[in-house]
Symmetry: C2
């Protein structure tokens, strides 16, 4: 998908013109399960509404009304939801595949079924095995306020071992593949386990750098439009600081 991304970069302006009608991506005021979808839309210069349900709606309980309103939260009462003209779609991975087709990546890959399937496999791995695991770790550490230090160290250590089992595999792929989900997944690894996680994995580092340098993504990152937090926890910076202390030396 990286190759297809690179080709897409050259035709950003025409892509923007190609999307007619209204595009809305609805999620919470966090990166969570939606940030990679935001990158995909931003990178293709899509004119879309980044509709964010504020934390206040969750704190006040209003989210439960929204959850029962399919026009907001889709058929499963969960976010992210993508609206593309009058078509509404739920579930991160389904949205990702739909955008792969709609934003021109399928076409750039000559509509090859195997390349599409490989991209979906990368997406699914990045989402389930890294992004969801990362969000879960932050949530778990957040609930361990009074936990013994050794229990925190153990939770972070398990995460570290799992991620370091994957890194040599990602390094091998990063030579020629990537995509927005892998980009977000690797950024979460850097935030949770430190940038030094990529020491010894030069293709991973190069891939991250290449993605951040893509003009529309670079401009988006600089603009400060990206949500500050990964999760909905208002104490996330404290949690990440605690995780940093518990990283294996």
């Amino acid at each position: 998908m990286l190759r297809s991304c690179m080709r897409a970069a050259a035709r950003n302006l025409s892509t923007a013109a190609a999307v007619e009608g209204k595009v809305v991506l609805r999620y919470f005021e966090s990166r969570g399960r939606a940030q990679a979808l935001r990158y995909a839309l931003v990178d293709a210069n899509t004119n879309f509404k980044d509709d964010r349900i504020s934390m206040q709606n969750i704190m006040s309980g209003n989210w439960f009304n929204m959850k029962n309103n399919a026009s907001i939260s889709g058929i499963w009462g969960s976010l992210p939801v993508l609206e593309w003209d009058n078509f509404q779609l739920s579930q991160t991975e389904a949205i990702s595949t739909f955008l792969y087709n709609k934003l021109g990546h399928a076409e750039q890959n000559a509509n090859d079924l195997q390349l599409a399937a490989r991209s979906a496999s990368l997406t699914s791995f990045a989402h389930q095995d890294i992004i969801l695991l990362s969000l879960q770790l932050i949530n778990i550490i957040g609930t361990m306020q009074n936990a013994k230090p050794e229990d925190l160290v153990s939770a972070v250590g398990q995460f570290h071992a799992r991620i370091h089992g994957f890194l040599p595999r990602i390094e091998n792929l990063a030579k020629s593949n990537g995509g927005y989900l892998i980009f977000e997944a690797m950024d979460l690894i850097a935030m949770i386990l430190g940038k030094e996680s990529f020491n010894g994995f030069p293709h991973c580092s190069k891939f991250m750098f290449t993605m951040m340098e893509r003009p529309n993504i670079a401009q988006y990152l600089k603009s400060g439009q990206r949500p500050l937090y990964l999760t909905g926890s208002p104490v996330e910076p404290t949690i990440l600081a605690r995780v940093a202390e518990c990283r294996p030396k």
Copy 2:
């Protein structure tokens, strides 16, 4: 996808002829993350090898060698893996989308991008929100050997509440949609929470019945080829019996 499944049923024999070369679905000796894929292949009368890594390989530690052999366990060292001629693919949802195309469902849906996306959304929901949650519950209850009865009741109660939040939504969809992942997901609900879970949800019950009556699936179920267990736990029947005792009255 149900509509597409139904149409596919009428042309099972021709579908079988259409698959040339070698098809292998590799997973463990359990239903787990692969059973819905087995149903898809069986229903299309595909000539495939249902390659199952035995429990003995896991007990003996040999699985760790297999995990490091990409020709067995793919790019992520995880199962399921699909081999289609010389193409190898990992991750349940990516395999499901690939089979949706290869087994004729995309064609039956006139290659409509929105119908494909809806099918992927259903698949993703069924896999992540029901199947993985069900397998996780069985694994957790399995580790709670010495837990207090109220902790078991609480774990099963949380699962029950979550599933019953979804059932009215599935009922609404089951009027016209379905698919192999939803079929497997609902069978797990019946096994964990009892068949009475579908009382008041006639479309769910009808969908299950329709799927089980499809000729190739009916024959497969009758043949005893389906793995006996959902997970790799050798004490799964005991765990399921314990869960049954803890169901909310």
